[in-house]
């Protein structure tokens, strides 16, 4: 589903949760942004790389039963919005979990997992998924 370059250039975000920090107001964003939506022009060209905390808790979740081709083998599977310990929200899959046990407030951490691939002989794309912590 994805070209090699399209995934390759997102590796810092996908592998290391690399986002941006505004040096003007200190606010942190994920994924990366070229400007801070609060400080706008003042932040232009000054945004710093910032790796978001890999730990947090579930803010909301859903169990997916109808899925696109690249995740259809996983269904049913859990997706979550996670509030990290540094206050950032990130969405992803929650794996290695009994689906009945998923709940709001559940402590989780981000791990590196296989996300998708470009077919049997294509490139495998990795990125973050969450597991219970």
């Amino acid at each position: 589903m994805a070209s090699i370059a399209k995934e390759w250039r997102e590796i810092p975000g996908r592998y290391n949760l690399e986002g941006s920090k505004c040096p003007v107001c200190g606010k942190v964003y994920f994924p990366k942004r070229g400007i801070c939506p609060e400080c706008r022009r003042e932040s232009l060209g000054k945004m710093e790389d910032y790796s978001v905390s890999r730990e947090g808790e579930v803010y909301s979740f859903s169990i997916v039963h109808e899925a696109p081709a690249f995740t259809s083998k996983l269904k049913p599977y859990a997706v979550v919005m996670v509030r990290t310990t540094d206050g950032i929200m990130i969405s992803g899959q929650l794996v290695d979990v009994n689906l009945e046990d998923v709940r709001i407030g559940m402590p989780v951490r981000a791990v590196l997992r296989r996300i998708s691939d470009d077919g049997p002989s294509g490139v495998i794309h990795y990125g973050y998924k969450f597991v219970p912590n």
Binding site: A2, S60, H65, E66, P68, V79, I90, S91, Y128
Partner: protein
């Protein structure tokens, strides 16, 4: 700026229209609207079309030229513009057309919305719909469009804003109205149990919480209010067209139990029309998922936070039940949701209500009606207010 009127409306049946092509349904709605306005067609000097993804649904880009050509307007070299804003494509196209007439750049404009979704299998359609969320950081990570709305619903239930039953009752409301609409995809009333026991799509939402995959088109004709009488006695004033934006990704919001863009667009619309939410008697809201109906009623100011669901569950938004009727067309859930057409079809329904032409689903003597169109998870919202003349 000039005041703008709607002088004609047209809509196709919504549903699985296998015997008609994208261009055929688009033209059908447009010609109905032109005929309804009593025009010959030569008066039209601008064309706006809301369409989300003909490029992926039917492998046709450049549909502005296609529709201009097959509606016979290319022979007059009428400028045509295609507008895309996810699920809000039709709503934004309507606003662009109103602005074109209000500004004086155009006089008589046809605004259409069309989508042909059933030429593809469901999985392909769903992946196109998923791309209206953040494709890189939501869809690519395995989040589906229904699952994003399911997470909103989960949080709304968790925070005590609405119960699962109240959320499900939005679908019951839409189906009850759809049963009264001959152009609706589903013309059958359902019970709460049907929604609650439907197969899971993205828990807690099931099949009957989700709008269907649909084909269909809708169109309206606009002209300056002062010229409307030259064409028809049955016209409607456009009292406001407002639009607002928000983050593309749902996870970047501080609060997912409200759509800030709906609140902003509604405030702008009420101010422009010089009215408040209490003046609205009929509203078409974006219930692509049932939870969207709860969010809409709350964020448009029709109910306080925590009270929208109760009124839905009691049947309080049915025609004739209270001061406000919601989704008299059947909403996206029962009338159907051919994405680009939806925002324009909402305008058609409200215009018909203002004209007193909504037949069995007519609201008694309405003066103001509202349409809310939502792109993504509240990333683009239009709120339009129509006034009966």
């Amino acid at each position: 700026m000039r005041d703008v009127a709607i002088i004609g409306v047209g809509v196709t049946r919504f549903g699985e229209i296998w015997n008609k092509s994208f261009r055929a349904i688009g033209i059908e709605a447009g010609l109905k609207a032109i005929a309804d306005a009593g025009l010959a067609g030569d008066e039209i000097d601008g064309l706006f079309i809301g369409n989300m993804s003909a490029g992926r649904f039917v492998n046709q880009q450049h549909i502005d030229a296609l529709i201009a050509d097959y509606s016979g307007m290319a022979s007059n070299h009428v400028p045509a513009v295609r507008v895309e804003a996810g699920d809000a494509s039709g709503g934004v196209a309507f606003r662009q057309a109103v602005m074109a007439v209000a500004s004086g750049m155009h006089d008589t404009v046809l605004v259409g919305g069309a989508e042909k979704m059933t030429d593809l299998d469901d999985a392909s359609v769903n992946s196109i719909v998923d791309a209206t969320a953040d494709a890189e950081w939501e869809a690519a990570m395995g989040l589906t469009f229904p699952s994003l709305h399911a997470m909103i619903a989960r949080r709304i239930i968790h925070d005590g804003i609405a119960t699962r039953e109240e959320i499900a009752s939005v679908s019951v409301n839409s189906h009850a109205h759809g049963a009264l609409n001959p152009d609706a995809q589903f013309r059958k009333a359902i019970t709460l149990d049907t929604v609650l026991k439907s197969g899971p799509v993205a828990e807690p939402l099931g099949m009957f919480d989700c709008a269907p995959i649909s084909d269909g088109a809708a169109a309206v004709v606009l002209c300056p209010l002062e010229k409307a009488k030259e064409f028809t006695d049955s016209y409607v004033k456009v009292a406001a067209v407002a639009q607002a934006s928000d983050t593309l990704a749902l996870f970047q919001r501080e609060d997912i139990t409200t759509y800030g863009a709906t609140v902003a667009a509604a405030n702008r619309a009420y101010e422009a029309a010089g009215i408040t939410a209490a003046d609205i008697q009929v509203a078409e809201v974006h219930d692509n998922y049932t939870v969207g109906g709860i969010l809409a009623v709350q964020d448009l100011g029709f109910a306080k936070r925590g009270e929208a669901g109760k009124t839905f569950l009691e049947g309080g938004y049915q025609v004739g039940a209270g001061k406000l009727a919601v989704n008299t067309s059947g909403g996206l859930k029962a009338r159907g949701h051919p994405i680009g057409a939806t925002g324009v079809a909402q305008i058609v329904e409200i215009a018909q209500q203002m004209r007193g032409a909504a037949d069995k689903r007519q609201v008694a003597n309405p003066r103001y009606g509202l349409a809310q169109s939502v792109g993504g998870t509240g990333s683009a919202v239009t709120v339009s207010i129509l006034e009966a003349i």
